[in-house]
Amino acid sequence: MNQDAQSNQATAAIRVRRLMNRMGDTLVHDGLDFDIQAGEIIGLVGGSGAGKTVLLRTLLALREPEGGSIELFGQEMVGIGEVELRRRRRRIGMLFQHGALFGGLTVLENVSLPLREHTTLSPAVIEELALIKLKMAGLDPSVAGLYSDELSGGMIKRVALARALVMDPEVLFLDEPTAGLDPVNAAAFDELIRELSELLGLTVVMVTHDLDALWQITHRVIFLGRGKVLADGPVAEMNASSIPEVAAYFSDRRKQKEA
């Protein structure tokens, strides 16, 4: 499915250049530059208020940046019309922090909604695809008829993941996917994301504070702070960083873990 990305290594999945974002008077992002290659799992890290969520919203084109450019598979995402944007967004799946399942719809309806809206597939195929995605997200088909308020926190995340994947996106954004889950569930969810990424060739960008997840599944960590990318590299290099914020973020957590 991501053959064209594999055959063309020169084009990054996501290329961000000189990205600027302003919230009121404060400059949240003061010229961000980074590339994400197809198939990578990236952890987006930074202290509270470092602009992780703003960056995610900008990458999703839910927010117009003050300046700079974002390219998705070589196609510009900033300053294009709504119609073109809608087409390019189909290559993106997003898992919101609290799931954002639609309240009046069942699990199956939630997952199949994008297919019903964007394709002319027959209802039978739509239902099959939705059930396949639910299964891939590790859910039993018996939950398909439930409403979101009948689900546990972990199940909501899994349904939301199934919905994010239903249009077979090439890039998956995750906003704190394991926040609010117990450690066992969180580890299982991380593992699921890694498996799906391998299986489907997904490029994954996750905002997370979960150090376990960063160690277990990410290939690379992008650390935001002071409006810049402070560090960009494998998580193992982070606690040896010469930048005080980065070293503090990782070394403190390491001590806690060892204690």
Binding site: M1, G103, L115, V125, I132, A144, G145, M167, D168
Partner: protein, 365 residues
């Protein structure tokens, strides 16, 4: 290139971009393929530019259809495509969502039970509120004065402009309509009497109650409902504070005070509207109008109208709070509770008003 295929001698050669959403276009063509004459089917994806799970599922469906018809199938595909087809090979059994359409009788029965249950819940709520309120009445100094004042401001003071404007306009309209009828008998002189009857006794209290039902029942339901889904109501309980005491009682008492006062305001504004019309249309000045009022038994109608206001207030407050506190199912439930509160409150106001009319008539008031 869009998704497409060639079918020749049992060999399905897939071409182009087999990805969602565009791949949906080939579904009808695949379904229309006649497999009856084949002994073997070969699916060849080697010329496909890109394949995703959606496209793979369409191919897999064709394969399953062929195998169900006893045709052997083969796959000519690279490893990546083969893996995608394997992924979609095994569709979990859909739950049996047999939507059985219930009979009319069943629907009526279900609704009756729902409404009965709702009525029972409301009565339970009234009981619970009473058991909280009555002990309070003997210890008025423990009453939460500040909350009461703030609720009075919300439900009473802020409603003044809209109530005054609406009843003024209604008074004008009524006066115009009455004077047209009276003019043909040359009896416009009786306009003040008729106006006092309609406005003081019926329209004033009722319009105020309906406006307040729309404004306040909804805000009570929304506020309490939001608190309920934020677990604030539960938090109050765990802190040993009764939500009835803290939230419901001040609202209840505030509306009990505010609604009669608003009704007086409505009466004044409505009569003013009438005066303006008689003054413009019939040259009857304010003095003349007021001079006729005592003869028009205005005082009796005023008291009969005002007597209804606390009953309306109690119903509106109870319905609003009840709907708010029974919210479940998150933010969507708050919206539904708000709507239900307004509908039920307006319904209750009109029904109670009719009951009062019958009762006053029987009592000869």
């Amino acid at each position: 290139m869009d998704a497409g295929f060639n079918m020749q001698e049992g060999r399905l050669q897939c071409l182009g971009d087999w990805r969602l959403p565009a791949v949906a276009a080939v579904e009808p063509d695949l379904d229309a393929l006649s497999l009856a004459t084949l002994d073997a089917l070969t699916i060849d994806t080697s010329a496909v530019e890109a394949l995703d799970l959606g496209g793979a599922r369409l191919l897999q469906r064709l394969r399953e259809r062929a195998e169900a018809a006893g045709i052997t199938t083969a796959l000519e595909a690279g490893d990546a495509h083969r893996r995608l087809l394997d992924l979609v090979a095994d569709v979990p059994d859909a739950l049996q969502t047999s939507v059985r359409r219930p009979s009319l009788l069943a629907i009526i029965g279900e609704h009756s039970i729902d409404h009965g249950r709702e009525l029972k819940g409301f009565l339970a709520f009234v009981g619970e509120t009473s058991s909280e309120v009555l002990p309070r009445l003997f210890r008025p100094w423990t009453f939460r004065g500040r909350r009461l004042i703030s609720e009075l401001e919300q439900t009473g003071v802020y409603a003044v402009p809209i109530v005054a404007l609406l009843t003024f306009l209604v008074g004008m309209v009524i006066a115009y309509q009455l004077s047209i009828g009276l003019q043909s008998y040359g009896a416009t002189i009786f306009l003040p009497e008729l106006l006092t009857t309609t406005i003081l006794r019926e329209l004033g209290p009722m319009i105020v109650a309906i406006v307040v039902a729309g404004r306040t029942a909804s805000s009570f339901a929304a506020q309490l409902g939001t608190m309920k889904i934020n677990e604030e109501i539960d938090a109050l309980r765990t802190l040993g504070i009764s939500p009835f005491d803290m939230m419901v009682l001040p609202k209840f008492v505030a509306l009990l005070i505010a609604l009669p006062l608003l009704t007086i305001l409505a009466n004044v504004a409505g009569m003013l509207g009438g005066v303006v019309v008689t003054w413009i249309a019939h040259d009857q000045g304010l003095g003349e109008f007021l001079g006729r009022l005592p003869q028009g038994m205005g005082v009796r109608h005023l008291w009969l109208g005002l007597a209804k206001a606390p009953v309306f207030a109690a119903m509106i407050a109870l319905i609003g709070c009840h709907q708010g506190l029974r919210v479940e199912r998150g933010a969507e439930g708050v919206g539904r509770a708000t709507t239900t509160a307004v509908v039920q409150a307006i319904f209750a106001v009109i029904v109670i008003n009719a009951a009062f009319s019958v009762m006053f008539n029987v009592l000869g008031l």
